[in-house]
């Protein structure tokens, strides 16, 4: 049982419970590592997801076993988490009061295979690229 908070940390579980203040259904996409068509939800504004039932490790490929956390109780807690669920149907999130301090939250209990990844904000990408361009220009000037 471990808590994961870094961008890119991923948990995979057969049953996954959690909550988020905002969940957006994004339709179906192929998971970049599993290469399987799954339903994507983007959860933002304080998201928590925990494995309540482990999946069969033998069903996972080597890349998943090394990159994903899959033990019972492993959880991710971050501002933004993307959740891929192996299901066609759109999930009905339940709104419950008092979950995150003073705010309400949408709770979920996925009973299909779910992969939850802590995502990086888009603004970080822009900052990172600007920094790289600045460093390249500095290097050119020094040369």
């Amino acid at each position: 049982m471990a808590k994961h908070v870094r961008p890119g940390d991923t948990i995979i579980g057969k049953h996954t419970d959690g909550h988020s203040r905002r969940c957006d259904w994004k339709g179906q996409k192929k998971h970049p590592i599993l290469k399987k068509r799954m339903t994507l939800y983007e959860c933002s504004q304080n998201t928590y997801a925990e494995i309540v039932k482990e999946c069969n490790i033998d069903d996972l490929n080597d890349e998943c076993r090394t990159k994903f956390y899959h033990n019972l109780g492993d959880n991710v807690n971050a501002s933004s988490v993307s959740i891929y669920v192996d299901s066609n149907n759109k999930y009905n999130f339940k709104v419950e009061a008092g979950i995150s301090g003073r705010h309400k939250a949408q709770t979920f209990s996925f009973r299909n295979l779910a992969v939850c990844t802590i995502t990086i904000p888009l603004s970080n990408l822009e900052k990172s690229l600007k920094q790289k361009e600045f460093i390249e220009q500095q290097n050119q000037i020094e040369q």
């Binding site: 994004k26 066609n88 995502t119 990086i120 990408l125 990172s128």
Partner: protein, 182 residues
């Protein structure tokens, strides 16, 4: 023969030109007037290129432009021929096609919800014609292409996350995340 030089601007004026492709382009205009002619000299400066253009009106709708330019590599030629915009147009066409794929998927999902089709038929339709319903994210873009796409994405609705960004331009999400972390 008398010669008058009129400067329209003392300093370089910053104009917003092609905000999708270049951050800033500045423009300075000088007009040289003699007794019977008037020639406009314009200097454009943008990232990687300086252009001096002398323009003479020779007919009702005809202007002769003589230009001299200094640029990094072929930036000047690319700007004139439109090659510079080729990548941006390519990205925008990809974005429109991916929005169409998403729309097709949601239309099919509506059919599933109102029970016009069964879940098996829903899966079969998508599996047989995935290119019309599912966005593929298989391009590993270079840093410059990602920068250009980021500039374009500021004017496109509903791009709020790296998932949205990589999805609409068919970029490999793992490559984009790696660029954001480094």
């Amino acid at each position: 023969m008398s010669i008058k030089i009129r400067q329209l601007s003392n300093n370089f004026d910053f104009i917003k030109k092609n905000i999708y492709f270049a951050d800033i382009m500045s423009k300075k205009i000088d007009i040289i007037q003699t007794d019977n002619t008037q020639t406009e000299f314009t200097t454009f400066t943008t990232e990687g290129c300086i252009m001096h253009i002398a323009s003479n009106q020779v007919g009702e709708n005809i202007v002769v432009h003589n230009s001299t330019a200094i640029s990094r590599g072929n930036t000047f030629i690319d700007l004139i021929t439109g090659e510079h915009y080729g990548d941006a147009i390519d990205l925008l066409i990809t974005a429109v096609n991916n929005r169409t794929r998403e729309r097709n998927f949601f239309k099919l999902y509506c059919d599933l919800l109102d029970q016009s089709i069964t879940e098996e038929e829903f899966n079969e339709i998508i599996d047989n014609d995935e290119d019309n319903y599912i966005v593929s994210e298989n391009e590993n873009p270079e840093q410059e292409r990602v920068s250009l796409a980021l500039n374009l994405s500021k004017r496109i609705k509903n791009i709020n996350s790296i998932n949205d960004f990589s999805s609409i331009f068919s970029f490999n999400q793992l490559v984009i995340e790696q660029l954001a972390i480094e």
